[in-house]
C-alpha cells in the first residue's frame, strides 16, 4: 500500500512535465496545424533560463579581506554577490536561494518572446507547405537550439538547487499511519503544473480570446470568414504554448539537473503522450501525461527492473503500441483529426 502510493506520487512529477509539454504541443498542433519538433527545445530553454538566472544572481564582486588569511597565508579573497551588496546580506541570500521560483518571472517574458519570434519568423511561412517540410524545419531548429545551448553551457548537467524551505522531505503518511516521505519540491512541482494546466484551460474556456481559439481549432476557415484576425491570436497562442513548456522546464531543474539534450529526450516521450491521449485533444494530453508518468514510475521499481531489465525505458512505448492497436485514435481522440 505504502509502496503503491509512493510510486504513484513518484510518477506525478514526471507526468506533470509530460502533461505540460504535451499540452503545448497539442495547442500548437490544434491551432496552427503544425507539429513542432522544436517544442522539446523550448522546455530545455526554460530550464536554462533558470540556470542563467541562478548564474546572474551569483555574479560576485571580489574584495580582499586583510583581516583573514587563506591556507597559503595570503589575504583572503571574498566573493560577494552583487545582489547581497545591493539588498543586504539576508535579503540577498534569500534572493539567490529562491532563484528557481524567481526564474518563473524571468522566464515568462523570455519564453513568450521566443515563441512569438519563432512563429512570426519561421513557422508562419510554413503553414501552406507540406507537413514533411514543417517537421523538417522545426527538427533543424531543434538541433540548432540544442547546439547553441551546448556551446554556451557545456555538455554536462548543471545543478540548480531548490530553496531550502522547499527542498526537504515531507512525511505525508504520518497523518494516515503510513510510511510515506516525499520530497517537498516534487509536490511543489505537481501543484505548480496543476495550476498552469488549470490556468490554460480556464483561459480557453472563459475568455473570448480562448473561445475564438477553440473555435479556430475546430474549423479554422469559418472563423477566418467571420472577420476575426485569427492569425494574430494564433501567434499569441504559440507564445503561450512556448511559455508553458518553458515554465515546465524552469521548475523541473531542481528535480533533475538540466543538460542540452533534454529537449529531444522529453520531446519524443511527449509525442507518445500526445498520440496516446489522442491527437488534438487537450484533456487527452493531460490525462495521458499523468498516466504515462505514473506507469513509468511503476516500471522503475526494483521489482519491475529485475523481472524485465530496462522495462522502465520502454514501458511508455509498449503502452503506446497497445493503445494504437486497440484504440487507433488514442484515449480521447476525435474523429477526423489528422486522418486524411
Amino acid at each position: 500500500m505504502d509502496a503503491l502510493l509512493l510510486q504513484i506520487l513518484n510518477g506525478l512529477d514526471k507526468g506533470s512535465a509530460y502533461a505540460l509539454i504535451a499540452l503545448g504541443l497539442t495547442l500548437i498542433f490544434g491551432t496552427l496545424g503544425v507539429v513542432n519538433f522544436a517544442h522539446g527545445a523550448l522546455f530545455m530553454i526554460g530550464a536554462f533560463c533558470s540556470v542563467t538566472l541562478n548564474k546572474i544572481l551569483n555574479l560576485s564582486s571580489t574584495t580582499i579581506d586583510e583581516t583573514q588569511k587563506d591556507f597559503l597565508g595570503n589575504p583572503l579573497k571574498v566573493k560577494t554577490p552583487y545582489v547581497e551588496s545591493w539588498f543586504g546580506e539576508v535579503a540577498g541570500q534569500s534572493i539567490i536561494e529562491w532563484s528557481v521560483p524567481l526564474a518563473i518571472i524571468f522566464a515568462i517574458p523570455i519564453m513568450l518572446a521566443i515563441g512569438v519570434i519563432m512563429e512570426r519568423g519561421l513557422i508562419k511561412h510554413f503553414y501552406k507547405r507540406p507537413h514533411a517540410d514543417q517537421i523538417l524545419v522545426t527538427f533543424g531548429l531543434a538541433i540548432v537550439l540544442q547546439e547553441v545551448v551546448k556551446a554556451f553551457f557545456g555538455a554536462n548537467p548543471i545543478q540548480t538547487p531548490a530553496p531550502d524551505a522547499l527542498s526537504g522531505v515531507l512525511d505525508l503518511g504520518g497523518a494516515i499511519g503510513l510510511q510515506l516521505s516525499y520530497p517537498v519540491w516534487r509536490i511543489t512541482y505537481f501543484f505548480f503544473s496543476v495550476i498552469v494546466i488549470g490556468g490554460v484551460f480556464a483561459f480557453l474556456q472563459f475568455t473570448t480570446f480562448g473561445m475564438v481559439v477553440r473555435a479556430g481549432m475546430q474549423d479554422r476557415e469559418t472563423v477566418g470568414l467571420l472577420g476575426i484576425n485569427i492569425d494574430r491570436r494564433f501567434t499569441i497562442m504559440f507564445g503561450v504554448a512556448a511559455a508553458v513548456a518553458g515554465l515546465a522546464g524552469v521548475m523541473y531543474t531542481p528535480i533533475n539537473p538540466p543538460n542540452y539534450h533534454w529537449g529531444m529526450d522529453f520531446l519524443v516521450l511527449s509525442f507518445v503522450v500526445v498520440v496516446v491521449g489522442g491527437m488534438g485533444s487537450l484533456p487527452g494530453a493531460v490525462l495521458a501525461g499523468f498516466l504515462l508518468g505514473i506507469l513509468e514510475s511503476f516500471a522503475s521499481t526494483t521489482w519491475a527492473t529485475t523481472t524485465i531489465p530496462g522495462i522502465n525505458q520502454i514501458i511508455i512505448y509498449l503502452v503506446a503500441i497497445i493503445i494504437l492497436l486497440v484504440r487507433p485514435r488514442g484515449l480521447m481522440g476525435r474523429e477526423g483529426v489528422m486522418e486524411e
Binding site: 517537421i135 523538417l136 533543424g140 540544442q146 547546439e147 525505458q313 512505448y317 509498449l318 494504437l324
Partner: protein
Amino acid sequence: MLNLNQRDTGTFLFVIIIAVLAPFIMNPFPTDSAMAQFNAGYPDLMQRFVIFGIFAIGFNILFGLTGYLSFGHAAFLGVGSYAAVWMFKLLSYNIVPALFLSVIIAGIFSLFIGFLCLRRSGIYFSILTLAFAQMSFAIAYSVLSNPKFNLTNGETGLQVYADDIQLFQVENLTTPHLFGWTMNTTYELTLSAWDFQFNVGYYVSACVMLFMFYISIRIFRSPFGLMLRAVKTNQTRLNYTGVNTRPHTLAAFVISGMYAGLAGGLLASMDPLAGAERMQWTASGEVVLMTILGGAGTLLGPLLGAGFIKYFENILSKINDNVLHAWFQYLPEWLENSLVWVLHWFTGKGWHLTLGLLFMIIVIFLPGGLMDGANRIREALRGRKAKKNLQTPVE
C-alpha cells in the same frame, strides 16, 4: 543497356565511373601540401560515402516516392549491424552470411514496425516511427543487454571475442573478409607527390552500392514505382482507382528497411562492432537530411547528399581552433582572432550546429535539394542563352 532508358543508362554509367575512380577523384591534393586535409580519398571515409549512399538510396524509395517521412530508419541500420556481428560471432568472418542475415532481419523488423506505423499517415506516421526508433534504441541499449540474455552488449557495443563459437572460422582470417579477401587490405599507389589508396572494403561496398542503385532505378521506373508516386500525389484518387495503398506503402517501407539493414551490415563488415548509438534519432535525422539535401525523389540526389554530409562531417569536425589559427595567421591579429571566434562555433565540435542550420536552410530555400538547385541554375542559364538568341537578329 540493362533494360534502362538512355538517360538512366547515362546516370548509372556516371555513378559507376565515379565509384571506380573514387580513389583518384577524391584525392586531388598532393600528400604533403597544406590542402591534403581536404582530401577524402582514404578508405574509411570512402567506405562511409558508399555505405550511407545505400542507406539514403533506400530511404529515398520510401520518402522520395511515397512522401512518407520516417524518422526511425536508423533502427534498421542498427539491427543490420547487430545481425552481421552475430553472424561473425557464430559462423565466421565471411561477410556473405552476415550481409544476408542483416537484410533478412531488418526486413522482418521493418515489416513489423511498418505494419503498425502505416495505420496512420502524415505527421502521425513520422511521430510513430520516431517513437519506435527511440524504443529500439532503448531496447538495444538496456533491455537486451543483461547477464541473462545479452544480445547487444549494451554500452560497450557488440563485438567478436576470442572465445566465440565461430563454427566455420578459417585459421588466418581474423577480420571480416569475402572468401579470403580481407576488407581492411589496402593497396597503395604512389605517383610523384600523390598517394592513392585502393581498399578492398571500399570496392566491395561500392559494388554492393552500384547493385542497389541499379535496383532502385528499376523500382523507380516500374509500374510499382509509378503507384508509389501516385500515393504521394493523391491517395484518395488512388483508392477510388481500385488500388489498395497500404500494401504499396508497406512494401516500400520494407524495401527501404532492407536497404538500411544492408548498410548496417556493411558498416559492421568494415569494422566488426555494433553499438546502440547507431540507432538514435540523430542518425535517423541524418539520413533524412542526406535525402532532402541531395533531392528527395531523384535518383542521384541521395548519393549526392550522403557524400556531401559525410564529407563535411569528416572535414569540419577535424578543424579545431589551432587549424583555424594556422589558416588565418597572415591576417592582422584582431581579424584573425575574430574570424577564428566566429568559425569556432561551426567547426570542430560545433559541426552539429552547422548540420542543424544546413537542415533549416535547405528546407526553407531549396526544398527540392541540390539536384533541384542544379536544374534551376541550368534552366536560368538556358533562359539567358535563349534571350541572347532572341536578341541577335536585332543587332
